[in-house]
Amino acid sequence: MRAPGRLRSVGRHVTRWAADTVGVLIALSAGTFALVLLARGDPAAILAATRAGRSATPEQIEAVRTELGLDAPAAVRYLRWLAGASTGDFGLSLRTNTPVGPEIADRLGVTLGLVAGSAVVALVAGVAVGVAGAVLGRGLLRGVLRGGALLATSVPAFWLSYLLVLALALRLNLVPTSGMAGPATWVMPVAVLGLPAAGALSRVVAVTLREALDRPYVLAARARGSGPVSIVLRDGLPNAAGPILSVAGVMVGGLLVGTVVVEQIFGWPGLGAYFVHAAAARDVPALQAGTLILGGGFILANRLADVLQALIDPRSRRDAGRRDRPSRRTPRIRERAA
């Protein structure tokens, strides 16, 4: 049972948090709107050309501009959009002339599936490699793992994509080259998106876990006769969870951004590919709504990580928590685990 005062403070906290988030999203949408305005490329001209299947005359472009209400001042157009968006109406896509909301809803599932799958790959591979890196002594295996992690974080997604297609699809014939139909088609997109994140995560896990294993309570646990596996799972990882979670939050944001490339290459009809088309056509309503969803997802993932961290580690809820200085001693647990 929590005290009522405690509840009130949680309520205040949530309210402030919501106001914060809405503020960030409004700033984000205004920024996107301004950027599209500043970018060269006239949506009316692009659309007029698309309709005709060829370049359009100035009169035709003006007609399209009037038809879409693009002749109003920018501030008016933004406020119109904001008024609509606040009621869940994101307007019509300039490119496809259909409501943006349902279009994005259709594609969101694809992208979330891709992100979820990649996050699982990143967590499993990242934590496994990270734990290995923390408990292994200096040696060939640890070097290989560290090198692999570095390589995974540094190769460009499109290059890795083509490499996987060449190896898994064209040479070994294990999976189809592209498309989204059945589990086999998930392998490459999820790997391309998940591996770089796994590489980054594994380094954080290795460093924080090694630090956690240096703490006195680990020594105490060993003195009680706990085995190395139980020490990593019960004492090491929970105490290293804070930093790992905050990195995971940022990671989800990175995965969302990465979908743009991966969906385009593997032909997945998700939000990332939608975004590319919208940007090319200067489709403001679609870009605005897409940014809002992606930005919102990014913020949510980070906030969720904060909340989890607070649940796990009471110290992060307090302003001043005395932290033990990590000692520089190499933990002797490694001799056991090796």
Binding site: S55, T57, P176, A184, W186, V187, Y217, P269, A279
Partner: protein, 524 residues
Amino acid sequence: MPRPRPLVAALVVSMTFAGACSSGTGGTAASGGPAASTTLRIGLSAESGALDPHGFTGNFLLLDAIYEPLVGYGEDGRPEPALAESWTVAEDGKKVTFDLRDGVRFTDGSPVDAAAVKWNFERWVGDKRYSFFRASKVISSVEAPDPDTVLLNLSEPYAPLLQEMSIVRPVRLLSPKSVAADGAFKDAVGTGAWKLVSSAATGAVLERNETYWGAKPRLERLEFKVIPDSQARVDALTNGEIDLVGGAYLAPIGPVEARSLGERGDVELLTGSPDVSILLGFNPKGPAGDKAVRQAVVKAIDTASLAQALFRGHAEPARRVFPPDVPDSGTDLRQSFDQAGARAVLDAAGYALDGKTRVKDGKPLSLRLLIPATPAEGQLDPRTMAAAIAAALAEVGIAVEITPVDAAAYYDERAEGAYDITFFETLGAPYDPSSSIVSLFTSGARAPLWATPATEDLVDKALFARDPTSRAAAYQELYDAVAGDAGFVPLLYRPRLWAVRGDVKGFTVPPTDVDLELTGVTVG
């Protein structure tokens, strides 16, 4: 003593397990094409969009497979009968009467009669949103005197009308029953050889229309698969996941991919006669306003080796405004690669060589070449072409500053004249030549290639010529006038590339890239 944290431990363990299970699902081996099949799998570069023939977003080829026009586009660009068996144009050119083909029905069973045709035309005739389509403005009314006859009244004679009746959007016929009460498009129902089964973001499925009035296809099913990346499409083709790619509006093949496909034994690369020219245009405000500079540029570019270098024999160097198979494309222009001639023209005009670049009145002769920073999907990379042209011009002492801009901004910059030289393309079948000459040679166009009072008059003369002989002569006069001004450089005819897997039999390249001719095609 630290408190145990069972929750977190459980979480970590379960994640590890879940991950181990889900990442362990390997794919079953990708199957190659079955030995014999009644299905053709076709690559598609973007999702098909709403398949409303009167809308703006549907993919041309799917619309073409589902819906038919009154008038078809023949092999040489001549109108041929489709849903209309015949037509007559009145003496004054202001009335066109169509005699409809008898007994044709939409796939929902409703008849293709004069009332249905009138209803279809009235969905776009006079509508502002179709102002790009001249016929929409010229047709003043549609009449249905009897179930078998449709009469179009025109506000003025318009010779290209019959040819424009063969385009895809918006002239094709939709079943009047397939719209909602408010007239909004609901179902894709037409009279074509194929009918729509399903359409989604990942592709579309069509099946044979068993009640088709014309020659029925031998295949039973078409599966269109959306693969946005052109390299990924080629991979899918060579891996046996799809059977057919190509065409400007279906699944374009770039020159680099064409090269790799051309070397394979199990894939057939087909080239159709080109219908689009790639041209280099000049901005008369600036250094290219000097005719001597333009003449030198024309002479300095070796289009034959350009075509060879960029397309490895899959493209021809251009010698006209329009490729030879476009109606009224005239005769080859008398222009040739002549470096010495280019230097001589510049010398005579007072551009003296100073180091590597020529200078006149203390100003170096440097041209700004505006290009889109990224190639359009499956098209030639403009950067490669720009580099080749810059190198050719440097040979005769003309410096080139290549200015890449974002693809969406490129057309705006070009319309504003932010260039000295830049690329232009003709529009391609079935619009040419009439639509292209308006957009290339009249100042009312958004970004003309070369527009002077003389070219404007000649464009009008060509558009409003009343008989074929005088029309051909007017077109030739226009081409000669532009060439006489050294107003452009014909670079290449854009190759129309298609590729099929070896076991696809009977596929021929369609007359235009908005058609897909599959009647005699079989697989395996």
